[in-house]
């Protein structure tokens, strides 16, 4: 009796767990289906090559697409060297003392700081103090700081996964720390570091709030040509359309979301490929 | 003495047991019988399959999906690997003590009553705890602080608590997987005394890499090498007049 009741309880528990897990998959399915349903009709090649317009039927995302490409390239150039270098310092140089603990705690807190606070930081420092105005510079520096902790933490994990024996072997051959880092550790940890970088950049592509703070525009009828130009990005364009009451604008917002999600899934796919193909040392 | 041992009933019987990790054979065609109320030691160099064998007895290998088990193990004639048998039921009658003490992060008291509680036969918790702790020779040391965390005990005390936890289930057989390997010599001596005492109530199978320990506490000894049972017999005989060269080499310390 007692034993069968135990088994029944377990079966019940299992079904609840299973139900919730399937619900999560189901919600993702609904979300994707809803967006496809709303946006598919608005999607066309012209949608990618037209500038925004007051009329949904004539609107496109050319400026937003170019803006996103600009922003993400500049963000990458700013945050990758900074992030990877910081990770190497923390893992290989930093004396494991109070200072190290402080830096580490600080970085995890930065990783959890709301993105809108980064926006205010960018507004006060880059837009006003350095007088960069509403330029690509201001936007990409802000996003660069935002994803810096993400890159640092994932790079640290990849570096930590390289076995000590490699480090020891290199040092035993008389290599100096920089030779060990550039010659052994960086190549060994590179696949993991790259995976982390791509995931961090895909987060930056979807960010909206900090760019609103630094004054990215929502109506841009030109393609930015230099880092000093004003700009808009895909998620901002989507936000602008989604916030309007007319249903047609919701349709083009969904079409914009489809483009954004395709870009994101492609990046995720590349990250997974790198992780599976090249990663020798796993956490 | 020798005849005395042979007269005892065989309670647990292993027939033609083979265990593989994927492609790699860890235990190969083993036949072995364990006698009631007796300590049987399983010895052999590391990687010889002795822990794998032990975990097969209470079906703990099944958590690792790559492990494949063939052959039969029966307890009092009941096939442990029968298709209708729930491994959970097996584990209720065959207790186990692990290499490293693994008390739950609960109080001493709750560690001991947890097994009887979930299995639904806890009647008098205080009595269960007292009996189990007394049998495990831990009562006097902890009776004043039964509700303190088990993690505050020393390593040796923790291991005796784990033994008490197994005893509280009232098992017939207790499996011990190198129970002293993580302990200091003094705690080890303590546990060895305990094992000798427990023999009157339980059947004990102990895996150990410490040959002196096997010689001191066991009635019969099985020697394993590379997954095969090389020799099995009365401990005194194994340690004084082994039949096989490999056994002799191992117990005299020529390899292992």
């Amino acid at each position: 009796m007692r034993q069968s009741w135990r088994k029944q309880r377990e079966t019940l528990f299992l079904w609840i767990c299973r139900g919730v897990t399937f619900l999560a998959i189901f919600i993702l399915g609904i979300l994707l289906f809803h967006i496809l349903k709303e946006g598919a009709n608005w999607l066309s090649f012209e949608f990618l090559t037209r500038f925004p317009s007051r009329f949904p039927a004539k609107a496109g995302i050319k400026s937003a697409l170019f803006g996103s490409v600009w922003i993400i390239s500049m963000t990458a150039m700013i945050s990758i060297p900074l992030g990877v270098a910081t990770a190497f310092y923390l893992e290989e140089y930093a004396p494991k003392r109070r200072l190290f603990r402080f830096l580490q705690v600080n970085i995890s807190n930065l990783a959890g700081m709301p993105s809108i606070v980064y926006g205010l930081l960018g507004l006060a420092i880059f837009v006003r103090f350095f007088n960069l105005d509403r330029s690509l510079w201001a936007g990409s520096l802000t996003l660069g700081l935002l994803i810096l902790p993400v890159i640092i933490i994932s790079s640290q994990e990849s570096i930590r996964a390289v076995p000590d024996s490699i480090r020891d072997a290199a040092f035993a051959l008389g290599a100096r720390p920089w030779q060990v880092i550039l010659g052994q550790l960086l190549p060994a940890a590179l696949p993991g570091i790259m995976t982390g970088i791509i995931l961090a950049l895909s987060r930056a592509i979807g960010e909206t709030a900090p760019l609103i703070m630094v004054g990215a525009l929502s109506y841009v009828a030109f393609v930015p040509e230099a880092p000093g130009d004003p700009f808009t990005v895909l998620p901002l364009q989507i936000f602008n359309w989604a916030g309007r009451p007319q249903v047609d604008f919701h349709g083009i917002a969904a079409a914009g979301i489809i483009v954004l999600l395709i870009v994101l899934f492609m990046m995720n796919f590349i990250a997974v490929m790198i992780r599976q193909r090249f990663q020798r040392y796993k956490m | 003495m020798k005849d005395d041992i042979k007269e005892k009933e065989v309670i647990l019987k292993i027939e033609n047991l083979s265990i593989a990790y994927g492609e790699k054979l860890a235990v190969s065609r083993v036949n072995l019988g364990f006698r009631k109320n007796q300590v049987t030691a399983v010895i052999g160099p590391s990687g010889c399959g002795k822990s794998t064998l032990l975990r097969a007895i209470n079906r703990m290998n099944e958590f690792n999906p790559i492990v494949k088990t063939e052959g039969n193990i029966s307890c009092r004639g009941q096939n442990i690997y029968g298709s209708k048998v729930d491994p959970t039921d097996i584990r209720r009658t065959i207790g186990m003590v692990f290499q490293k003490p693994n008390p739950f992060p609960k109080s001493i008291f709750n560690n001991i009553i947890w097994g009887p509680k979930i299995n639904g036969f806890l009647k008098d918790p205080d009595q269960v705890v007292e009996t189990a702790l007394k049998r495990a020779a831990l009562w006097d040391e902890v009776k004043e602080r039964l509700h303190d965390s088990a993690l505050d005990l020393s390593g040796g005390q923790q291991q005796r608590l784990c033994i008490a936890r197994a005893i509280a289930m009232n098992p017939e057989i207790i499996l011990m997987d190198e129970p002293c390997s993580a302990l200091d010599p003094k705690s080890t001596a303590h546990i060895e005394d305990l094992i000798t005492e427990l023999r009157s109530n339980y059947t004990i199978i102990i895996v150990t890499h410490n040959m002196q320990q096997a010689a001191r506490i066991s009635d019969e000894t099985a020697f394993f090498y590379e997954g095969r049972l090389i020799e099995f017999g009365v401990t005194k005989m194994i340690f004084t007049k082994p039949n096989h060269k490999q056994t002799e080499d191992y117990i005299t310390g020529r390899f292992g």
Binding site: Y89, G112, W178, N268 | D89, R91
Partner: protein, 290 residues
């Protein structure tokens, strides 16, 4: 000094420079928020700000009680947690103790995708799907409402809770797990009575970090939950969160230096203090759980 040694020193110097950027970022945030808030508090008393129940900084007569924004944020966070915490725990439990490796390899990417979808997309989803669905159940509901925002924020933080709990459950050593199984425990008993209590500090960390994330969440609530600062616990009404207020002001043309402009920094400072505190506590729990 040899050349190799010289490169070493240069590289180390460069690395230290990079590391100091992270410290500098935190320092700048504190300085900027501190400075602007200080000048805000020279006009408005800090007590009126923290305990006032009317938030109308853009209309005459102005009133700077931040509690309606805090209340809106609280409503969203609590709603989101009610959805995400049990679901996240159950998913983590299932993945950990019951699911086959194959099932795990399907669910994990699904969670990663859910975690990677931009928040503006969730906002759109809330506005154009969840709200209309809710409206069929609660016809009197407003177009912008806390419930829709809370649900969508719940979906957003679900992957975070599930993966933090999953990590916590995995960190429980297998020897303890084995000990429980050896006593004849069933998997769900091991899960609920041994693993969950052992991982409780990591679960607490998951809760706190997820709440901090929900507090800072911006775009989804800006789109879905409305722009009406209000002291209400009714999820069917339109509210405004702290983050949504900051966005609202930034979208308008508020001149720098005015008191309206400074409210943004005061609200952000409060937001920063709240999330920082929670992150510190949460990360401490993770550290302690190791």
């Amino acid at each position: 000094m040899t050349k190799a040694k010289w490169i070493d020193k240069t590289l180390e110097g460069f690395l230290i420079l990079c590391v100091s950027m992270t410290a500098l970022t935190t320092l700048s945030v504190v300085l900027i928020l501190g400075k602007e808030s200080l000048s805000f508090f020279s006009h408005v008393s800090i007590v009126d700000f923290l305990f006032g129940t009317r938030w109308e900084p853009l209309l005459e007569p102005q009133s700077f009680g931040v509690l309606p924004l805090v209340c809106g944020t609280f409503l969203i966070v609590m709603g989101a947690m009610v959805i995400a915490l049990p679901a996240g725990l159950l998913i983590a439990a299932y993945l950990n103790e019951f699911a086959s490796n194959r099932f795990r390899s399907v669910v994990k990417p699904v969670l990663e995708i859910l975690a990677g979808i931009p928040t503006v997309v969730y906002g759109y989803f809330a506005l154009t799907f969840i709200t209309p669905q809710l409206k069929t159940v609660f016809p009197e509901m407003q177009v912008f409402n806390a419930a829709s925002g809370a649900i969508v924020v719940g979906i957003m933080i679900l992957p975070m809770i599930a993966s933090l709990c999953d990590d916590g459950f995995r960190a429980v050593s297998t020897t303890i797990r084995d000990g429980a199984y050896a006593l004849g425990a069933r998997p769900y008993e091991v899960m609920t009575q041994i693993i969950l209590p052992s991982a409780k500090s990591r679960v607490a960390a998951a809760v706190i970090l997820a709440m901090s994330r929900a507090i800072g969440e911006t775009m989804a609530v800006t789109l879905a939950a409305g722009a009406t600062p209000k002291m209400t616990l009714n999820p069917l009404e339109s509210i405004q969160t702290m983050t949504a207020y900051i966005v609202q002001v930034s979208l308008g043309d508020t001149p720098a230096g005015g008191i309206e402009y400074q409210t943004v920094f005061a609200v952000a400072a409060l937001l920063f203090v709240m999330t920082l505190t929670m992150n510190l506590i949460g990360n401490h729990f993770i550290y302690k759980g190791r």
